[in-house]
Subunit: 362 residues, 4 copies
Amino acid sequence: MNFGSDNQAGASEPVLTALTDAYRGTASAYGTDHYVQAATAKLKEGFETDLQAFFVVSGTASNTLALSTMVEPWDGIICHHQAHVYLDESSAPALLTGGAGMLPVPSKGLRIDAQGLTTMLERIPNDPPHNLRPRALSITQANECGQVYSVAEVAGLSNIAKDAQLRVHMDGARFANAVAALGCSPAELTWKAGVDVLSLGATKNGAVAAEAIVFFDQTLATDFEYRLKRSGHLTSKARMYGAQFSAWLENDHWLDLARSANARATELRSGISRSGGIRLAFDTQSNETFAIINKTLYRDLLAEGVSLFDWYADALPPQVPIKDSEQLVRLVTSWATSSDEVIDLLNTCERLSGSTPKANET
Amino acid sequence: MNFGSDNQAGASEPVLTALTDAYRGTASAYGTDHYVQAATAKLKEGFETDLQAFFVVSGTASNTLALSTMVEPWDGIICHHQAHVYLDESSAPALLTGGAGMLPVPSKGLRIDAQGLTTMLERIPNDPPHNLRPRALSITQANECGQVYSVAEVAGLSNIAKDAQLRVHMDGARFANAVAALGCSPAELTWKAGVDVLSLGATKNGAVAAEAIVFFDQTLATDFEYRLKRSGHLTSKARMYGAQFSAWLENDHWLDLARSANARATELRSGISRSGGIRLAFDTQSNETFAIINKTLYRDLLAEGVSLFDWYADALPPQVPIKDSEQLVRLVTSWATSSDEVIDLLNTCERLSGSTPKANET
Amino acid sequence: MNFGSDNQAGASEPVLTALTDAYRGTASAYGTDHYVQAATAKLKEGFETDLQAFFVVSGTASNTLALSTMVEPWDGIICHHQAHVYLDESSAPALLTGGAGMLPVPSKGLRIDAQGLTTMLERIPNDPPHNLRPRALSITQANECGQVYSVAEVAGLSNIAKDAQLRVHMDGARFANAVAALGCSPAELTWKAGVDVLSLGATKNGAVAAEAIVFFDQTLATDFEYRLKRSGHLTSKARMYGAQFSAWLENDHWLDLARSANARATELRSGISRSGGIRLAFDTQSNETFAIINKTLYRDLLAEGVSLFDWYADALPPQVPIKDSEQLVRLVTSWATSSDEVIDLLNTCERLSGSTPKANET
Amino acid sequence: MNFGSDNQAGASEPVLTALTDAYRGTASAYGTDHYVQAATAKLKEGFETDLQAFFVVSGTASNTLALSTMVEPWDGIICHHQAHVYLDESSAPALLTGGAGMLPVPSKGLRIDAQGLTTMLERIPNDPPHNLRPRALSITQANECGQVYSVAEVAGLSNIAKDAQLRVHMDGARFANAVAALGCSPAELTWKAGVDVLSLGATKNGAVAAEAIVFFDQTLATDFEYRLKRSGHLTSKARMYGAQFSAWLENDHWLDLARSANARATELRSGISRSGGIRLAFDTQSNETFAIINKTLYRDLLAEGVSLFDWYADALPPQVPIKDSEQLVRLVTSWATSSDEVIDLLNTCERLSGSTPKANET
């Protein structure tokens, strides 16, 4: 039972077939091949606009190289206090932007809210050139707390950002899950809502390893190949990325995969609501579920080989109570998760906790 | 006819099969999976020593991250004046070392020679802290001019380097071709000859995209995962690298591929020696061949769709004459090149240049 | 009336005389002169230990270059949430450490306390290599909120830091004021209490422009001249620093200057306690005083040309109430501030606010 | 007898007086004071144009921060193969530009010549994004080999540079000596000849420590205070620079000082031409003189305490013969050098070498 992370899943058959096919012949190097061109064409079609796209091997590269186009080395990048790019990407933002720093929003909700962003922008130290100067906002969609921003929320944050001369970046490591959850179009959720650059992740959702940096504001893409090159991300056999993304985008395959992952998460959340020994920490809308379990059950689950992931207790909203005897965990379903696996996890929890389902309590 | 670069070739079937197989199930993330462990075990076996290995997606990442472990940000790295890491990796060395600079050997032979290195070390400005302080030597094997250093040459350069407190790095983007050309063991050509870290490339020789950074001096590997992470090279689904390298190293598959590429180069060089309209610029020992052709033929070849690569005229040793009407080109054979392709190229040259083979001239 | 900052004061006559004298002849360059040697000797004497010292022109250079010796570019530096090096030194820490980040202690007291530091070290994300790894603690003494850490407090924090493998840096832009306030020896407040490197500021306390980086742990000073050089801080006519520091340290001149600044602050705080229209925001022990005044008085003071400095409202402890109609200001006295100036400010406040002294209220 | 470097001289009395006067009172911080404003006004007057100026403590900071405004971190900066910024500023260019590299002109004359620059621009590797992309030219005036570029030479190089999209920087550590040597106006030698930014040094020519970065192209000055701040070069008591530069520029004091230094160099060169045991290595036009002496005399001079400076033999043009028994030395005269010192040095050479003046040979 693997609920540790969607990056532990494999790759979908269409992606694997496309990758294999692409390597049974020659292709020109460094992104000039027709696989990359085809993937870019599919992105234009999928996002209903002209754009430029570049491809890298990791989300960290995708996020930080994207951000490097938006800020000067002496600027700051506003983000959620649980943002991956703030907590989980080491000093990559500093390295690849040349020194810029992350500025987490002080108000600690599960998502960035308009009021918190506005207040922060008003109060942040502003005595040039002494302080970090905010010049970008990075929104994760779906975010690290499993939240999906509505189109209106994204547009609202973008408007505040633009008014304050900030560029808008979207960390879309789980963008497909957000689109699937909202049922909107990719365009509505990005450039139509003010997003300048999207870091679009395929790795967690069925690819071998492929992340796209999608420039809706193409002026930011100037010299981007130099940024790739100097960070070691200009791959010679770049068809790797082109082949994966083409197959992934073809016929909404990416959204089908994400819908499946989301559906399993819905089943999981529903099951947890009815189970004893485990409860939802807070509501989520994507393929991530956060639960609170007592530490005895937690240890028993690990002992049975269930893959879980401890989560930062600081992520909890103040109103969510957690005891010292309890553990906050993240449970992720992927495109490859089956309903049987979900049921298996729920049954295991009940068996180990010796509890009966909550349905019986009523 | 593709002789532009070995990075335009595809991937071998064993590599593709292994990659596909690895993605038909789950695996733990960030290099903790058993594919990566198996690849490391095979490297230890192949190099007959304990070692640490890390994997990245490009030669530039492999070279510059390796070098970053050897020097302080205020140091210099000695290399050949045609070294890839000096001429063709943009500002990656500066970025990933934190500021260190490349120091090309002034004497301009086709390979670094002991005398040139010694003289350079004696004469280089040495007024601390004003100048770049040499602390590493990077040797490309086989090198950018198609040269293969003998085991004795590598050991000789390493000895000079070590005496001057320099670490020794080997850029092995075409290391397999060098081993195949020399018929020595991988161990003899690396750690036994004083190499501290090897950047071992599989991409040009049958892989999809996979480069290993092999630490024979394991003290240099301290904190290396942080270097990977902060440059965006810690890949979540790292099994990609493990699966490729395992298949590539299995049963000397990598050396078989390199032997084939080298054999085609030998056929090509032999054919050029007998042909009119084209001549060898200088001797090479690997899968790279450098030829001088007149510009009319050059343009005709391009017009027929032959993939060639212009080369820096500065690479020519002073004694090799080249006319303004001539062009220096690099011709690379890969594991995928067939003898028929070589014959086809030679015939095309003769047809286009209207010349008869040199054998007839005698 | 200048209470804006001690960096607006001039330089003391002994410092000016020494500086002038040093430039009436030749001296060897880049810190090899006897003025620098004499200053270093005086530092050894004043701190009662062997040490290495280097000199720079600004506090930002002093702090960030010192910190650069303590951490790797992927590490984090723990500090107070109001630390100058966190809020007011732009991206200098990232630039000069090569990418390291500041990690402010979450608990928001006026000074770092042992409990807050301990809790932070327990809870900080610790999943290598994904997060910033804490490796240094920076304590400002006297700090940005006017607080002076006792010898026992410094030693307590250092012990916690050392147990967690952190190096200890002291930002001593106002170190002289702290020593003067505590009446302890410089040694007791630094290396005897676990401080590895002190950034010792003279600029704010009587010098023209001179900051010393004092290495008690001399292993950290390795290659430090390269750090100076590459950041543009290896000054050719370095006697500038040597001459200033020699005169400044001579016969406890530096402590006399600091005692005077502190005494004026005591007079100011005492006067504020007795005055209407202005009140102390919180207690301080150095030459900085924080007061809350209503915004009408604030504007009237500015209109009269009084030099004040707005301070971050976030600096206030939660229990200090401030109204929207009020302004938090910082008032700094320097070695050059006279008692008459203090009285003048107090009288002006009373005149403008139309209030009578509080003494009359009782 | 001090001929080692003009940075070993003291400071002129007008500079010292101005500096001292400026520190006998308060002034606002971080360059907002009226001393800095007055210095900027004098620069505008002296250069007969509007401009922006910033001030730093060292030539390395001045050069590399200036260059950082001209290039992206993946660009290259063309310079002479003996340029201070290439050979003698450690990794400062890489650090402060974010990774850009120096590209020395291959043709090795004593100064950059138009033909050498043109040829270099034609032949430099140009396969984006793989190579360093030239985007700036840095000319030292007077240069490290004592050469003074004529106004026409500067304009000629600037034209070539501008045609190739390069910005033009002038390293003017000895700019005053060049103006004094040519008798032209500062404007003619800089912005009228195509120079975008001048690093104007006062330190070597009578100041305590003061370097100005003068932006003729003011678009390059955007955000420059952030560059100062993050490298630790935003000095709080910046009046230090303003006071020095005001006095230095006042009434052509700077040119008087340079004329004196140049005149002593002329006397020295003239004397060397007539002396035995020492000969000029090549002609120079500024306050630097390069001489070849036999090693016995060299050692004897050092033993007598004469301050000399070994110079890179590589600086010699190919046609200048030097024997293994000889030493190339640099002799620098400063504003403080007296004619007596020059005569003293010449007499000492003759006495130690046991030779009679060449005049007697005829």
